[in-house]
């Protein structure tokens, strides 16, 4: 190893990393050269991850505001803050925004930023495709969100059941926006999945076998397979709806003998794996956080990996539990009821293993750790209400009522969002080179925890006491007023909690305490490099001999960590070749979005968009990824 390349004095620190010991904080934070062009043309996975993070936080706020309108309207009976039509747009967009524009991209932010760092790679397998995925997400997100200002937002529910969403019953542009938007966003996810599967299979550092991979990367790996296999199904289903709406085909036309259940099956064959896509990354983040703050390894790592894989498989076998009320017949109902019960087992096993990780540990309750424990507590609740849904006859009371709303908000907010917050507090230092404020973080956690329960726990009751879903108002005297008032109060409190978080986040970006390579004393490769990482990530690609390089690694692990944690060198000085910045992925993404939009406006636009896609795609494929080198 060429240790003579590194000169002391310019480096931040070069002590030998010790297990569990946080690295000392540097005096200053390295600022990377910025500039608009470097962001717009970036192919660096860390920058792309940062773009995802900011965009997704923005949409999280949008979705949250939509929720606040919903709760303001439903806080009492017979309210008319918004009209029925606007409410129906808002609840549709709340679901669509949170699933496709907030939670998935927040997970994508972590995939992008973290996976190469965790596996010891310099970037993902296809950096330009990576940028393309982001720009498609951004343009698709703007496309599907902006129409709400023109009273044209999608209004068929996030699940868009036919025949309500066929042209006959939804003649306006609202559902056109939905079908086009979903197709665009699907392309973003699919491209990213191809990228990450290839990256994880092919770019792991020497010595990093699959069973030595960090658990977040493992869960993300399963998620990418779910995306690759589930998204094409909804692509086809939505394509059928698009063809029906724009070109008069008969896929969902009742008069032609079509079966509305075709849509439901196609949607949920995608939709159920989708919810595992939403939760597994959060599970992965929690599995990184808890061991670090317990100062001991993840309990049952192999079981955590296998249960993740089993959940991925079984996730494709439970979809019709969203359809217990449609009359599939007793055999189908029984089969899907049983598979749904079955999937509770690997999920529950994870909960126990997390508890096992904390047990016997020396646990420090940093904000990240609090959110991780919060996920364990709240997901347990959501998982149990999920098991309650798994019994079809019982579900016939629960489904399409507020009980379901309670269930999925416990698993999505109490699960995914909690895990993502945990990940943000944990990885913020790595991303920005500064610490978030811990006191504000803890305030955020506790208000969030109380508010979340106050908002969603009463919904178990309003549901079982007869309140249907997706209603813009309800009558007085039905026994639902108190529970709804509680939920609305909790929702307002969530605004407070989230505001504190946002304030902390943005202030810490500029004023947080500088962070060293490993402020938490964690074990995995991303903590062996400076914070924020240099654009080449690792000065020397590490050789990995253990699952926890900084805790259990051998001499070579520690030495490469010692080298990598030193900053101050450029890629050029180290002889590392990085991909070119290029705007071509953005141009292809923009052309593709415009091409899709032509469906709604003008067919010449489709042609022009397609031509632009072809031109820019050719330019992209014909140009080299990186400078020639040997």
């Amino acid at each position: 190893m060429a240790t003579t390349v590194f000169t002391p004095g310019t480096d931040v620190q070069h002590d030998v990393p010790k297990p569990f010991v946080p690295s000392p904080a540097p005096a200053t934070v390295v600022k990377h050269k910025g500039g608009f062009w470097s962001w717009v043309a970036t192919t660096d996975h860390k920058r792309i991850g940062t773009l995802y993070l900011f965009t997704a936080l923005f949409f999280f706020i949008v979705g949250g505001l939509e929720a606040e309108v919903i709760r303001a309207q439903l806080g009492g009976p017979n309210r008319h803050l918004v009209s029925a039509e606007l409410y129906n747009q808002i609840f549709t967009m709340h679901g669509t925004t949170m699933v496709f524009l907030a939670i998935m991209p927040l997970s994508a932010a972590f995939f992008n930023f973290l996976i190469p760092l965790q596996i010891g790679a310099r970037d993902v397998a296809f950096p330009r495709l990576n940028a393309f995925s982001y720009w498609v997400y951004l343009f698709g997100g703007i496309f599907i969100t902006a129409p709400i200002f023109f009273n044209m937002a999608p209004n068929g529910g996030w699940f868009a059941y036919v025949p309500l969403t066929t042209r006959a019953y939804s003649p306006g542009h609202n559902l056109d926006v939905w079908v086009i938007g979903i197709q665009i966003l699907g392309i973003s996810s699919l491209a990213a999945a191809v990228n990450f599967i290839t990256t994880i299979i092919n770019l792991r550092a020497p010595g990093m076998t699959l069973m030595r991979m960090p658990i977040f990367t493992w869960m993300s790996f399963v998620v990418q397979f779910l995306i690759v296999l589930a998204f094409p199904v909804i692509t086809v289903g939505v394509f059928f709806l698009m063809m029906d709406r724009f070109f008069g085909t008969q896929f969902y036309e009742v008069a032609a003998g079509a079966d509305p259940l075709l849509w439901q099956h196609l949607f949920w064959i995608f939709g159920h794996p989708e919810v595992y896509i939403l939760i597994l990354p959060a599970f992965g983040l929690v599995s990184e956080v808890l061991p670090t703050f317990s100062k001991k390894p993840l309990f049952g790592y192999p079981v955590m990996v296998y249960s993740g894989i089993v959940i991925g498989f079984l996730g494709f076998g439970v979809w019709a539990h969203h359809m217990f009320a449609v009359g599939m017949g007793p055999i189908a109902d029984s089969v899907f009821g049983l598979t749904t019960m079955l999937i509770a087992i690997p999920t529950g096993v994870k909960i126990f293993n997390w508890i096992g990780t904390l047990a016997q540990g020396q646990v420090k309750y940093s904000t990240a750790c609090l959110f991780a424990v919060g996920l364990v507590a709240l997901f347990t609740c959501g998982g149990i209400s999920g098991v309650m849904h798994s019994s079809p006859p019982a579900d016939l009371q629960q489904t399409d009522s507020y009980f379901v709303v309670a269930h999925f908000h416990y698993v999505l907010f109490g699960g995914s969002i909690m895990g993502i917050f945990s990940g943000i507090y944990y990885y913020f230092p790595k991303l920005f080179g500064r610490m978030m404020n811990e006191t504000l973080g803890k305030v955020h956690f506790w208000i969030n925890f109380v508010a979340m329960n106050l908002t969603f726990f009463p919904m178990h009751f309003s549901g079982m006491l007869g309140m249907p879903r997706r209603i813009y108002t309800y009558d007085a005297g039905q026994g639902w007023d108190t529970f709804n008032a509680m939920s609305t109060g909790g929702a307002y409190l969530l605004v407070v909690a989230t505001s504190i978080f946002l304030f902390n986040f943005f202030r810490s970006m500029k004023k947080g305490k500088p962070a060293g390579p490993n402020p938490w004393g964690a074990a995995t490769l991303e903590w062996t490099i400076p914070s924020p990482p240099p654009n080449y990530n690792f000065a020397t690609i590490p050789t990995v001999t253990s699952r926890y390089p900084l805790w259990e690694g051998r001499e070579a692990d520690i030495e490469s960590a010692r080298i990598n944690q030193q900053g101050g060198k450029t890629a050029q000085q180290l002889g590392i070749v990085l991909p070119y910045n290029t705007i071509k992925p953005l141009l292809v993404a923009l052309s593709m979005t415009i091409m899709f939009m032509g469906l709604m406006f003008n067919y010449w636009v489709i042609g022009a968009g397609a031509a632009a896609v072809a031109i820019f795609l050719y330019a992209w494929l014909a140009s080299p990824l990186e400078p020639e080198h040997h």
Binding site: N195, T198, L203, G237, F239, F240, A256, L262, P624
Partner: protein, 217 residues
Amino acid sequence: MSASTSHHYTTTGLDSRKIGIWTFIGSECMLFITLISTYLIYKGRSLVGPFPHEVWKDPSTGHVFHSILNIPVTSFSTFVLLMSSLAMVLALAAVENRSVPKRTLGDKILGSSKLWIFVTALLGTVFLSCQAYEFTSFVHEGLTIHTNLFGSSFFTLTGFHGAHVTVGVLWLLSLLVIDFKRGLNESDVLHVDIMALYWHFVDVVWIAIFTLVYLIK
């Protein structure tokens, strides 16, 4: 495809683009499985004809529609597509063995990547022409994409497949242009390999479609 080769270290020893195309093909499998499943679900459920394998008399006009699928023509086009896969195999072999000296005329013919890429593209185009002929004759006989569930699912399924073949033909032609301009050499083997993978996949999908849509009643 970018000219840079990846001499970077990889865990599997394979080029990342190889793994990428296999992953992409996995998603395409799900795409076609969904399209084919929809066709099979709606099989026999159209309220009006024409139908694929039966005769139908329109009660309102009295017009008689014979079973609309033309097995002989489609068998021919299937054969053509299968032969195109053979041509693709030869094209890839030709690029891989570029540096092997070719003595006989037979060797030269077999070793001409330009020839075999061209033949693949040509056979693909013949297949597409048969599809075009088939679609237009169906429309003349009264089956459009709007007519019934069969029409919608049939044209969408075969249309998706045809679009994939079209993309493949265009891709082949661009390879051919590169071959004429600077010649394909060892560094292009991966590119042609990926092309071949895609082409064979499209062929396999067609075999499934031909069997399930045309052959099975």
